[in-house]
Amino acid sequence: MAYTVTAVGSYPRPPREGGEFRLRKTLQAMDRGEATADDVREAQDRLVSEILAEQAGAGVELATDGQVRWDDPLTRLADGLEGFSVSGLLRYFDNNTYFRQPVVKGPVSRPRPILVEEFRYAAAHCPVPVKAVLCGPYTLAALSHDEHYGDVGALVRDLAEALNAEARDLAAAGATVIQFDEPALAAVPGQPPGDLAVLADVAAGLVDGVQATTLLATYFGDVTAHGPALFDLPFGGFHLDFVSGPANVEVVHEFPGDRVLEAGVVDARNTKLESEEGLAGMVAELAEAVDPDRLWIAPSCGLEYLPREAAERKLRRLAEVKARLT
């Protein structure tokens, strides 16, 4: 299928303007002791169903659950792993959003599945396939405060082992595409690019035995510093952000013929809607280097940085671009 329209990860939780924000109210009620964890889960379930239908309605062919059960991009996983606690708020890359910094207190392991149950829920309530999304071991290590290992390589190795177990379970639960988010690998403005060698050492173990298409997702910047070596990593595909990392077009010429390129082409961090013509031209250019059947089109990153209406408009625009090109 040419130009598969794909979601990347997060999705806005607020309702459309004027709608009832049930999840927020339920969480506030829980803080006051007036709602239970079950009430919150039910509000989350309803929102996930709504978001999945909204994506499919907009023309998305590979959706996500919007990560609406996550407080931030890291702690949902860190909380589920042995060896972590969480500490104060830090800014998440160059966004005006925050995460609680995970702190590594002891050996990292995964005592039980973390996201499998919520993946099953999403898959059962979505008219199109659902992508499972995990924070990658490199980024989780890079943004955490390590008080135990004293050696990033050792920490990333244990994280890769734990996340491999999670990915295997997600595949067994029916996930056909499993994404590892590694924004810390990219050259995010104002920060140096990540150390590819650290991830390269553990990548084989990370995807070992995972019966699904694995994706490595970088965003918020370009990956040109790593050159084609990035594509030597044993992932089934790569998400690149062509909005915050326009230089990524340079590495596409060296894109291997047997992998998926998930191209982030609409800006998931600005409300301005891209023109259909401009996007179609950009995607057509990418299609000169990558077979359209392996060229997926997507927002630049998770859509949560946008208000709800703007997020949906961006997805519709991707579907319009696909229709124009096929």
Binding site: P12, L27, L90, N270, K272, P307, E309
Partner: protein, 321 residues
Amino acid sequence: MTEGLWTTQVGSLPKPDHILAARSDFARGRISRDELTRLEREATADWVRFQDEIGMDVVVDGEQYRGDMVAFFAEELPGFTQGGLVRSYGNRYYRKPIATGEIVRDHPITLDWWRFAQSLTDRPVKGMLTGPYTICDWSFNESYETREDLVMALAEVIHQEALDLQAAGAKYIQVDEPAVSTRMDELDLAIKALGMVTEGLEVHTITHICYGDFHNAYPKMLELPVDQLDLEMANSNYDLLESFREYPFTKSIGLGVVDSHSHRIESVDEVAAGIRRSLEIIPPERTFVDPDCGLKTRTVEEAKAKLRVIVEATHRVRAEL
């Protein structure tokens, strides 16, 4: 007494419960704008009186009438449209403004509030503005070709506001740029924009920066064209002082001595010790002692307790000079 070692504040102060309730009532159409303003003026007067009583040298109005520091300005500037809700963390959301047209200033934004606060005290009241770089960074941009274009358009309108504050008699004008530390690659842009804001100002100018990796930005940040840099020192254990030993700190410092994001009330002893450490490097005539950041996330009681500690510790150290 030695001239110097003044006490001041970064800007925001907590809103008492009845102000929070009134803001929410106003948003739901249950009370009028006039009624809300009346309550906000009362709360402002309470905070000015408190600062007078404890002997704060440079006073703030406490921003009882502001919600988000960026949205407050965007709502008053033609060219911005109110955006939808965007999540910042956990269950917290804010309305992120959208630049949809040409940004201009068709009326003063903070001037009446500054005049009101200054009418209540003989102590100088700081003019409090949000900087152009931060307003751009925390907004969506649909109308300007580049970030730089939007930042410079904002610099012009904030400059106009600063000139009005100066003309009205403000002796201190602070231009907050908390977003500057997110992207060190754009520090030059922030410097250029702040230069436009402070051009022609003869009063004492200040910028407050937080959440930053200053070790990488120093001494480059001394190029920010203001008289005073207001910095969080307490929550980084005064680490920056080491950089100041290596390369002299040439400006006045806003010395943050209490953590604005912790419930714990610091002791007078520890705050005094922090001030003494700084005085080894920066002289009293260039030192303004204040909290690390705005105190709006604390309770009224916590904020008052922290401010009392700041004044007492500063007076203790002053007496030793």
